[in-house]
Symmetry: C2
Subunit: 217 residues, 2 copies
Amino acid sequence: MYKLYSMQRSGNSYKVRLALALLGAPYQAIEVDILRGESRTPEFLAKNPSGQVPLLEIAEGRYLAESNAILWYLAVGTSLAPESRMDRAEALQWMFFEQHALEPNIGAAYFWLSLVRGGRELQTHALEDWMERGYAALQVMENHLKTHEFFAAGQLTVADIALYGYTHVADQCDFDLAAFPSIGSWLRRVEQMPGFVSMDWCPDLEVTPSASIAADA
Amino acid sequence: MYKLYSMQRSGNSYKVRLALALLGAPYQAIEVDILRGESRTPEFLAKNPSGQVPLLEIAEGRYLAESNAILWYLAVGTSLAPESRMDRAEALQWMFFEQHALEPNIGAAYFWLSLVRGGRELQTHALEDWMERGYAALQVMENHLKTHEFFAAGQLTVADIALYGYTHVADQCDFDLAAFPSIGSWLRRVEQMPGFVSMDWCPDLEVTPSASIAADA
């Protein structure tokens, strides 16, 4: 069984949890609170020298970092990985776009405005740039989604999961998605996929039917 | 034949030229000077809505953007693409690392200090962050290269090409590589590969053997 080092409210970590859920793959989740420095301990740095989550332990002592590389690994042989050479390249194109145009801007705004107390005041100088570049990235996505249901291969792939991670929390960090109706429709399409789980969903909190009934009682 | 929209002094563009050279693949290069806004014209934006180079025209009207996605596309079926699932994932891991830890810092420093006149003064406030994060990325690479000849699969792959792009110009933008001897050795290993071309090499300047002899005479 996979072991996933993840932070519940990290969009990058959520991408991997979402892929595992859509694939129905069992895993053990280990919460790593980067705000408390838990990804910077000697023990964690021995597993991932970059000191970041998510981190997937694939086999005893064999670790894979980088959310989008993990997505690609998990998707091998499933419908989440496009089949043709060109479709695969286009999925990767959007995943690299996500890591340099979306995540450093919307991801950074989300982190500082939504997760760090007093973050807005600390990052006043950077926020304007994040907003400008984040909106530019959203516009590129909106233009694509005007004529496509998904980002690559005409179906839900790892590219959609990668982009969903931070796009779906953009409205929690000052971005107004009202001007991006095609993005809104795409977010709903992803959310309707069988097996979809929200960012709040935590594998450790999963309740069995009987426990659920007990809780309702 | 491929058509490559590229800027000669862009590290991201160079990655693709280097891969094409190592693979011995013929292509037509079209210089796009982003400093003169040539990637922001309506004509270019119609080809790549992100307004960036490199951009590869794979077939008439079919374009692929994002340097690392292009590398992956070109490498299919060649020794530059690792074969096993884990090796492929590890190559991708390093390529995503390159796009969020190396390129935004060393690439940004290179752009503003080396390509833009007066760039140092314009970016004084950002340079300190770029240096700190760029050195952190170099340290992660150095630690890996202490015990590995290449980044993935024990051989030269697209991951090395991606990381070479900006690492080899780090010393042109204030980074001192003297403290990273394993990176130095790895740079030399890449440069000794058959077919290697430098960033300065321009396909349009290629001389035929007879022309070369004529030039020597």
